[in-house]
Subunit: 251 residues, 2 copies
């Protein structure tokens, strides 16, 4: 079972990132790297959080300003401003690994987190927040709110994004502590997947991207992994519930 | 293990409903009854969906109208209109029971669903939707939007509630089919918990509430179970992530 998990992990980490952005967002690079350095986990998709304005086309921001919304007066459809918090899917080797991750997630404030256990034994832990904001702004092209309200909304959305990133940091720290505590319980456990990381490093190195193990590990995650910041999740896996969440908005 | 689960189920169903409303909402009575009639499941909390206006005090509606918002001009704080969809927590006997329920939930459109597996082996399947609406309306007592916008918002919130209830119905039908299919696979399985339901019926009957088994079963669920419609979840169980979701809004 361990060998199979390890093989699936390697395949997944080597697969091309199918998201629009094509890399992990820098705000959560450290989280993704830490998870992937543990032999019992690998991330299959992630989004650090985003503020989105939808009006026919979809614009995403890390932080929003009134100027971002300036096109609203020319809106021709039903425009909506949305804040979507951090979301992360992590495939886990065993149920107890998923339990550990779930417990860390809930204790860090991600209270909509939950596990999925597939019929074939595939275990995925989803880290989800309860944070949200979803505000209709126009109807059939007619703007329904004024400038002051839009200013206020962008402020609220930015505050939510800041709180979201604080929560991500809490998750990172709690996960670090949990992994350290686990390693102390199992003194002989290798804990991190040095071998696999080295393999990646070597592979990248051969392509002329020399650097420290850690740097290369980040590169692997940034370039090859299925993550996204402002695009849709795109891991081609129908067993994960959030796959089409953002597509909902276009239908 | 089966006996322990059965005992915990009986205890839970006999416990007083700690929610504000004190009973299961009629929109989801049939869902809760069906789940509790299966020996491998029992519900620990539920909310059929609600539209909430928060401004110091908290008002909840099954459907909203402009008159519900008429107090907004006297708002003294930061008023927010929110739509919260159906949420359901179901304790499951075995992991495969939870998998079945989870699969039905995701296939019915509840894509933020997930399992929680406690250290003591307690398995809970949470059914959650991605539907939402969260609109700030006033700031420090100053109303930031006009009457037309509030009319429009109540319309959107009501549409979301209708879609929510359609999705609940889909979940009910899909769950019914899944349970029937399971029973066909295990011809000797009793499927529903006739014995336990009869016990409840008898108990209620002695208190002068005679009726058919089914009617009494509904009464048991309505009067004794920990559910709510317009209050907060209140099952006194910190392992379930949504416990304080609605409290968030007051902090």
């Amino acid at each position: 079972m361990d060998r199979t998990f390890s093989r699936i992990k390697t395949q997944s980490l080597n697969r091309l990132d199918l998201s629009k952005k094509g890399s992990v967002d820098e705000d959560i690079e450290h989280v993704v790297s830490l998870l992937n350095s543990c032999e019992q986990f690998f991330t299959t998709s992630s989004c650090s959080g985003r503020i989105i304005l939808i009006d026919g086309v979809r614009q995403a921001f890390k932080s929003a300003s009134y100027s971002d919304m300036s096109g609203l007066s020319r809106a021709c459809g039903d425009a909506v401003l949305k804040f979507e918090p951090f979301v992360l899917h992590v495939q886990c080797r065993r149920l107890e690994d998923a339990q550990l991750l779930h417990s860390v997630a809930v204790n860090s404030g991600f209270r909509n987190s939950g596990l999925t256990v597939g019929k074939t034994g595939k275990i995925v832990s989803a880290v989800r927040s309860t944070h949200g904001l979803e505000v209709p702004l126009s109807r059939h092209g007619k703007l329904l709110v004024d400038e002051d309200y839009i200013q206020f909304l962008t402020q609220i959305a930015n505050q939510k994004m800041e709180e979201n990133l604080r929560r991500v940091q809490r998750f990172f720290q709690n996960f670090q502590s949990a992994v350290s505590a686990e390693r102390q319980h199992i003194p002989d456990s290798p804990g991190t997947q040095e071998h696999q990381v080295s393999q990646h490093t070597h592979k990248k190195g051969r392509r002329g991207e020399q650097g420290t193990n850690k740097q290369n590990q980040l590169n692997v995650n940034k370039r090859r992994h299925q993550h996204e910041t402002v695009g849709c999740h795109d891991y081609g896996d129908s067993s994960l519930p959030e796959l089409n969440d953002c597509l909902d908005l276009f239908t």
